[in-house]
Amino acid sequence: MTLSVDIRHSLGDFALEARFESAGRLTALFGPSGSGKSTLINLIAGLLRPNKGRIAVDGRVLVDTEARIFVPMHKRRIGMVFQDARLFPHMSVAGNLRYGRWFTPASERYAKMDAVVDLLGIGHLLDRRPAKLSGGERQRVAIGRALLASPKLLLMDEPLASLDEARKAEILPYIERLRDETKIPIVYVSHSVAEVARLASDVVVLSQGKVAASGPTEAIMQRLDLLPAEERGEGGAVLDTKVLRHDQAFGMTVLGSQAGEIRVPRLARPVGATVRLRIRARDVMIATEQPTGLSALNILAGTITAVRPGIGPTVEIAIDCNGAIVLARITEQSKHTLRLALGRQVFAVIKTVSFDSATTGAGLPVEADG
């Protein structure tokens, strides 16, 4: 799938001018509130008509103001999951799920009711009314409803933003399964580094109505300067890891990555499962010699490949650990004292307890299980 967008749109004082292409499995539109990401997704869905520009999915032109093309939303075959689930209150959950099938030509129906119900774990809810569901259940039903219309592209507009942390943790694994087990490409709007780092294959960063950057998630997440101020502390390296073994005695899980073994609090995932691990730059210390007598369990050897000024009295240091980049945010003073510079051999030090469910993305750590 390739999504190509080149549009200009103004709403009152706000002007959106976006141009990008993405071919990712899950493309995140990322930016602070007011950056224009929701406007952009509404333009793709056809809920808004751009003043000017062109939007195409896989070569199929949805909007082209110059050629006077505007495909109405009900003909786009683009699924949408809204922040507020927007279920139909006068229908049961099953009625909501079946709604889109009516309007899908039989030859293009690829989504199967049983498979979607299984995927989202909503089998026990089918007879209920939307008013009787919890926020998390509603959102899962809304995802199922969009999927069962067999869309060519699925848009998700901050689907977790109105949920509390526990509900988010409940839904995230389902979105991961959706990404990994179905073939449908997803565009996901979010302002949360945790969600984007965990879910996205590609990121388009929006800032004040303009595309600030776009590229693979690993690269974008290291550009702390691109992150909104209140989310900057969440930025850092994103590593794809595998569960090597669980350490029953100490309640830990050992993850294997390109950078080396990383110990995190016990995860409820089987051995061999892949875990996308985010290492916050602010959680990484730098040592110039192999540290001893230190409580931190994760010590990764590497070479400094970049030194960038950070916000305030900080610098951001990229360390190449066997091909994987780990990012550290330290003070200007430490850099000066340790004489850190490009090419220097150093050790990145990360406390095991600095990992939590938001960064290991494998559900809540299982606590005190024996």
Binding site: G46, P72, M73, H74, F82, P89, H90, A131
Partner: protein
């Protein structure tokens, strides 16, 4: 109870006619009522205020004036009346159909108002969600909007029915007071009060009129509650 049900054939006819006239007025008003309510709730066009005023006119004009205007337009020599009689064979003047027209027109503002309010209360974002699922605007209206405004629709229909049951001024001006043809309950009661010894008949019809209105009101309450319970808003 016996004296209550001991109606003369003319009185029974008035009761039957009234129910027929009110039912036809209500049902015939529904489609244009929904259309106008939609237009007023959602439309953005020049002259909307004027249209709104026109719809409400029967509410503020003296009923006799409305009746006379109907006579001028839908009477045998009126432009609309002559056209309809010639091309469709529909005659209003001095027929029960004319009574239904008068009652429908008088109840129209109440019906449009109730439906309009319920349309304005519909969350348009839910309709947009249906659109993204592939439903074209007509399907969205039929499967989402219409079921969601059902309580308002019922309320509007009952208001129109109740207004038709009680309508007097416009009806008697437009189609007069002909037993078995245009003499509805209020006209019949009025006739009784104009003749000596008509008190008993007037009282009987008054009680029947109260019973019909109460039954209609209770039925609408029950119906609206059942619909409302079916779809507690999130």
């Amino acid at each position: 109870m016996n004296w209550l049900l001991d109606l003369t054939p003319d009185e029974w006819n008035a009761v039957r006619l009234s129910i027929k006239v009110a039912t036809v007025a209500m049902i015939a008003s529904l489609p244009p009522g929904i259309l106008l309510a939609l237009l007023l709730a959602r439309g953005r066009f020049w002259g909307k205020t004027l249209l709104n005023g026109l719809v409400h006119l029967p509410l503020i004009l003296p009923p006799v004036v409305t009746g006379y205007l109907l006579l001028l337009t839908f009477g045998r020599r009126g432009p609309a009346g002559a056209f309809l009689a010639e091309h469709f064979g529909i005659v209003f003047s001095f027929r029960w159909t004319g009574a239904a027209l008068a009652c429908g027109v008088m109840g129209f503002p109440l019906m449009v108002r109730a439906i309009r309010l319920s349309i304005e209360a519909v969350d348009r974002r839910i309709e947009a969600a249906a659109g993204t699922l592939g439903a074209n605007p007509l399907w969205v209206f039929a499967t989402i909007t219409l079921p969601l405004i059902l309580p308002g629709l019922i309320a509007g229909a009952i208001l129109s029915f109740a207004k038709a049951m009680g309508e007097f001024g416009a009806t008697i001006t437009f189609v007069s007071n002909i037993p078995n043809e245009t003499q509805t309950l209020p006209s019949a009661i009025y006739t009784f009060t104009q003749v000596p010894g008509g008190d008993a008949g007037a009282l009987r019809l008054t009680l029947i009129s109260i019973i019909i209105s109460m039954v209609a009101l209770i039925a609408s309450e029950v119906l609206a509650r059942r619909v409302g319970r079916r779809m507690d808003i999130e």
